[in-house]
Symmetry: C2
Subunit: 336 residues, 2 copies
Amino acid sequence: MERVRISDIAEELGLSTATVSNVIHGKTRKISDETVRRVQALLEERQYIPSMAGILLAQNTSRIIGVFVHDHEKYEGHVLEDAFIASSLNALSAEAEAAGQFMMVKRAKRAEDILQFASMWNMDGLVVIGFCRQDYMYLRSHMRIPFVVYDGFCDRTERIVNITIDNTSGGRQVGELMRRLGHRRALCVTDNLEGVDKERIEGFRQGFGLGETEVMVVPMRREERRAYWQREAARFRRATAAFAVSDAYAVELMQFLRESGLKVPEDISVAGFDDTPWCKLASPALTTVRQDSAQRARVAMERLRELKTHADCGGTVVMPVQLVERDSTAPAQEKW
Amino acid sequence: MERVRISDIAEELGLSTATVSNVIHGKTRKISDETVRRVQALLEERQYIPSMAGILLAQNTSRIIGVFVHDHEKYEGHVLEDAFIASSLNALSAEAEAAGQFMMVKRAKRAEDILQFASMWNMDGLVVIGFCRQDYMYLRSHMRIPFVVYDGFCDRTERIVNITIDNTSGGRQVGELMRRLGHRRALCVTDNLEGVDKERIEGFRQGFGLGETEVMVVPMRREERRAYWQREAARFRRATAAFAVSDAYAVELMQFLRESGLKVPEDISVAGFDDTPWCKLASPALTTVRQDSAQRARVAMERLRELKTHADCGGTVVMPVQLVERDSTAPAQEKW
DNA sequence: TTAATTGATGAAAGCGATTTCATTGTGATA
DNA sequence: TATCACAATGAAATCGCTTTCATCAATTAA
């Protein structure tokens, strides 16, 4: 129950801590087989568990991977519940475990918090999600701990490793699908015109070709959105296709459409983005764009490891994305 | 960029580290206002960030709250994506931040892993989710770090702090609702007959009174479930109400019912449990039982703090639960 | 005037590991 | 027999902080 220290083991066997430490880590030193056996046996018997405190101090590395999620107010204090974030956390946690590392999660509002947190723990690497470029630049110049960024919009010269997905392609695939289905007037639903959402919409436009697209920028706060849908209801009557930049918005949109007496996909086709788990449970099952957060996490951790050695190898990794066609999209019906 | 240590500050001001340390923590010692001012100014200027390595070692406490989530195979490697877990993580993270603590998340399979992990980091407290009683007992007897358990089924004598919700009441409220709506034959959907799910179903039975209830134990793995629904389809034709022990199952069930040509709620009323965010987006919006994970997290952290002082105060905290009636439940129609 | 008290600070030990450098013993070589 | 190489191990410094104990000067009480 009381902590067993290396020195306890050493003392009990009449050895020095150096020897015990070397047995634990192997390979630095030549140690007699007999000693190795005795030490290992006692470590096992006493259930020695190393103290990270000591290790941290001695070898100046913590094996902690910090995951910093921007606590954007649009989530109203529930960021970690967002399907994409939750899925990323899960994948990152799996990667960390596989690599024998530890995952510390923090929701943060400012880059300064990240810096402070990461430095105080002497973290091994960081995954930074949802902040803006300016924050990344700040970290780049004030912190020596390697970090990668999710969806960062940084170019090579900025020396930041940015792991993102091919939003444009995702949007384009949806656009092409809608065009192929004969749609001519589409609505894009987003809550802002920057970053990934901008790319998704641009992609959609490319794929949709000559079709007419109108963009609806909905309020971020859920309560305001309700009123907004109602106020703008007329716009849905004109379109036969809708592309939401997230599954959450797509599902919410479908619900609203149903309430307004419009049928999905008969009256209007709807597509989302992310392929969150409940897409296939929505009714109708939602057509969407799948991003693979497990793969993203894997790449993130790999790049983090690389950064430990070649410090300055910024660059963007674009992960592929895949259209998942389900039941919320169908051939256009004429409207007049 | 290079680490600023307390000794750097001390040296630069011609003071001892003891003095600087005392300025930082206040109140232990009488220090002249002049010195305090000078030290604080320099700490600020040099952007001193304490090293947890040193602190950990010196004061033998880490301020780390460990959250251990049982990596049950039914989640197929995606536990942290489960809506209830994600929501708990978010709430716990918020609580930890508010208390100036750090949250480390780990998915674990065995109690030994928890023990090892928690001890090596000298964690301040643990929240243990989804393990079984035997694991809790193991921790209780092998570990001196205080921990609380979610949904643990431990009685007072076991000296384990167990934070749970009133599953029976939740089930009962659904049962009563179904009875009130005139249903006579109900189906309960679960994937096991133990723990919280057992309580929920028992509660349902109590509330449903004389109505006839049949329990379906569905396979945990998604692929097998698909076949199962189909095979057992006939049972749905007999019932007019269904209560699933989780929203996930409820939504999946609704989807299957729709595919089989049954209408919800006209042909069959469906209710779930948890009130996950997408309940209100399902169609029809799902009647369910709300549990408040923010409140639960608050209590968990409070009890953890109490445990630091009075070590042995086991006991179960039962949090209230609330029926949320939406559109998936309706008065019974006669069937024959 | 001297002793006792108090206020402000320094010196050093300790926390639990790692790691460098030094030491001992043994068999082989000259 | 003296020297050397090498294998096996010990002693001690180090990491950055907290905290106890000691010191010294200035003030107050006797």
